[in-house]
Amino acid sequence: MSDGNQPPAGFKVVGHRPIRPDGVDKVTGRAQFGADFHLPGMLTGRIKRSPHAHARIVKIDTTAAEKLPGVKAILTGEDFDVGAGGEIEAGESASAMKDVAANCLAKGKALYQGHAVAAVAATLPEIAAEALDLIEVIYEVLPHVIDVDAAMADDAPVLHGDMFTKGVTPRPDKPSNIAQRYVMGRGDVPGAFAAADVVVEGSYTTAAVHQGYLEPHACVASWGADGQSTIWSSSQGQFLVRAMTARILNLPLSDLKVIPAEIGGGFGGKTTVYLEPVALALSRKCGRPVKIVMSREEVFLASGPTSGSSMDIRLAATKDGRITAADMTLRYQAGAFAGSPVHLGCMTAFACYDVENLALVGYDVVSNRPKVAAYRAPGAPMAAFAVESAIDELARKLNMDPIDLRLHNAVKDGAKTVYGATVRSSAFVETLEAIKAHPHYQTPLKPGEARGVAAGFWFNIGGESSAAVHVDEDGGATVVSSNPDIGGSRASMAMMAAETLGLPIERVRCTVADTTSIGFSGSTGGSRVTFATGMAVVEAAKKVVDDLRRRAAETWECDIAQVEWRDGAAVCLDPSKDVKPLSLKALASKSAKTGGPIAAEVSLNAQGAAAGYGVHVCDLEADAETGRTTILRYTAAQDVGRAIHPSYVEGQLQGGVAQGVGWALNEEYVYSRNGLLENAGFLDYRMPVASDLPMIDTILIEDKPNPRHPYGAKGVGEVPIVPPLAAVSNAISALVGQRMTSLPLSPAKVLAARSGG
């Protein structure tokens, strides 16, 4: 729960907690998610997947499957031709389209267990399943590599013969699994280490973890005989689905309409395509709509987790706790194709701290795993695990309070980040102070309990967004958003519009439009929607207000400068006019006589997103004889700018904490010696359930509203997954008296550490 944030003075809607406009549909089962659509004549699509971690596809024989009654279309990777491919911006990073296509259907080689090799569409699910069995694929099994460090070894099996490490000069003379090397830094690192009073160092690893959204990927695609097609799908961006699908199938964008379904969670994992190009290509082959829904096993095998990582870190500090230098090497799994978020790991690693001398090297490494996808603050939680563990170690060495040590080094406005940005409107110091003053941090621990503290950072982004505001003739308004609503954004959009228009929230509704009904928008990702699309909503609402003022001025025959918009009505400031205010409702009812319908659409490229900072504190205990840990208390504080709908902001913090705790304690991809995933299901993947967690207290820091957003919003969704890995691990390290360095911290690992093993 919030620590009692009060609605900001002067606002009637923003900062309050109304019921979300799409809420009733979601509590009554009426909301339509990706798998809920049904079209007449619709076929079931299914995908045949590689049983091997790495294999050359010698031959795919579809003859027997084609003959099975009820089979209407069969597809293989040879059906896709994207040529050189190019790149498409997708959320926080660009995607190479050649790789996206080859991930949707393998070409030449299967690069991981579960890699799609063929697809069928059939009249019944059971026929589609039988057809998959009848498709004969001849493989030449190749040596595989799973682990990131093993994949970097000189003698590792190479996945891509054309992969020559970028970012290294001269260009390497032989291919490897290292797609790219990133180098960042500043200052004199060796000098600072030589002069240091204290040095701490360590090596850390984290496991690959899945976003774990509850809704498996799903879509329906319908090809039109004239080439105009429609896709209904659950994704984080209808425009992204359109761009990627059109690119893979060589279609003009205007011939493809993508209708966003309700999305059952994404956390970054639905910022790419797996099914849509396949479903549409199948539909193109047989002229009937095709629905494809992944099973949970397919989600684990073939959709993106985030990178597992291996990191080395060293910190140099003075004896009074000033961190003078750090050097860090980060090696991130990319999965089967290049594109781990290791560069984001490098950029965020020390973003909370003002460190003069920095040296960071990141490696983006492919191996025989599913291609990673974005996952909430991609790249940051792993780096923060290493950094925040090292800082905890330093605090112990210096015998300093871990919050005081962080305060001593905290980044402040005006500081330069290692990636060149200047810090502004940051409230990291306030966030640290809030945790320090909180009753949780002030409560002494009981015997057998331990406490961990950690901080985290995320950039948050802006970018391209569109929104429209339509004033209805009865005086209400409809907001048209361009972004799939993944966690309540229709509520914040409607609230910002209501605040700007001066309407009660109940008179403003919000819908998410398809690609033909609103201007372009980037995906729902990067914690950008409330900021960027929200800015478009407010701009559109302001245009509407200006139009309403103009109409009032014309009605009153006064200068528009003499008309003020106040509490949902035009007020005349001209003392010579004796007129009553004209409400929005009154103006709307006469719109035909004052210039026609009242509406505005705004497309913009939002600049000025402000970074967010989080500080978490976690208390836990462990069973001395089994190593099982129990989280006893958890508090998360975050610099949120201003909370538009505080309940949903709190929810973001609580959800991020739960995912981070899962990452810290139990979640991981477990592989057999043959490179096969052994836990491709919820049972053995072990995400937190309700009884695993306590209530998660939140503190929303609103000291520094973002001046570049009309209502002060900063992105809030990603920061909260950054600190928990180290907050949990630091607590366990304190408990067992030994630095824990390898996630997840399973009972066996904790027991071994406790026993001094």
Binding site: M1, R17, I19, R20, D22, G23, V24, D25, K26, V27, T28, G29, R30, A31, Q32, F33, A35, D36, H38, E126, Q211, G212, Y213, L214, E215, P216, E262, I263, G264, G265, G266, F267, V293, S295, R296, I486, G487, G488, H645, S647, Y648, E650, G651, Q652, Q654, G655, G656, V657, A658, G681, F682, L683, M687, P688, V689, A690, S691, L693, M695, I696
Partner: protein
């Protein structure tokens, strides 16, 4: 003969549908009866998104065969609101913002209803363990648990004043 006619009562209405040993009750609800409020998150009984109440017992519709429904009384999320009036659980989930994406919500609501039907005054721990079979990846469960506790209080209050 793999599919036969199954007769059951769903949300108080008699229904007939085709089902065989190859279809789960969830398949029948979603594909035959078009009651898509029950969701498939895993198909293996691990996530609870398909939770329905069968003859008073909470079950995963994905772990029950369609023909087993013969003669049974089935409650789904579509029947939770009473003639357009939200159940106190639905109301409290909205008040508490106990949902983000909403995909797990129908299952959580059905499971919570099954709990309050037999335990009108559960402790936080009882709520958490009862709902352990309903995964939610968005909320961290905090607001869900609070919503269930408050709905329980609402129902007790309503019982008292009735």
């Amino acid at each position: 003969m793999s599919r036969t006619v199954v007769r059951a009562t769903v949300n108080g209405e008699p229904v007939e549908f085709l089902g065989g040993g190859g279809q789960s009750l969830l398949d029948a609800l979603r594909d035959e009866l078009r009651l898509t409020g029950s969701k498939e998150g895993c198909g293996t009984g691990d996530c609870g998104a398909c939770s329905v109440i069968v003859d008073g017992r909470l079950v995963c519709a994905c772990l029950m065969l369609a023909p087993e429904a013969e003669g049974k009384r089935i409650e789904t999320i579509e029947g939770m609101a009473d003639n357009g009036h939200l159940h106190p659980l639905q109301h409290q989930f909205l008040e508490h913002a106990a949902l983000q994406c909403g995909f797990c919500t129908p299952g959580l609501l059905m499971a919570s209803k099954a709990l309050l039907d037999r335990n009108p005054d559960p402790t936080e721990t009882e709520v958490r363990y009862w709902l352990a079979g309903n995964m939610c990846r968005c909320t961290g469960y905090d607001k869900v648990v609070r919503a269930v506790m408050d709905a329980a209080a609402d129902l007790r209050q309503a019982e008292k004043t009735a």
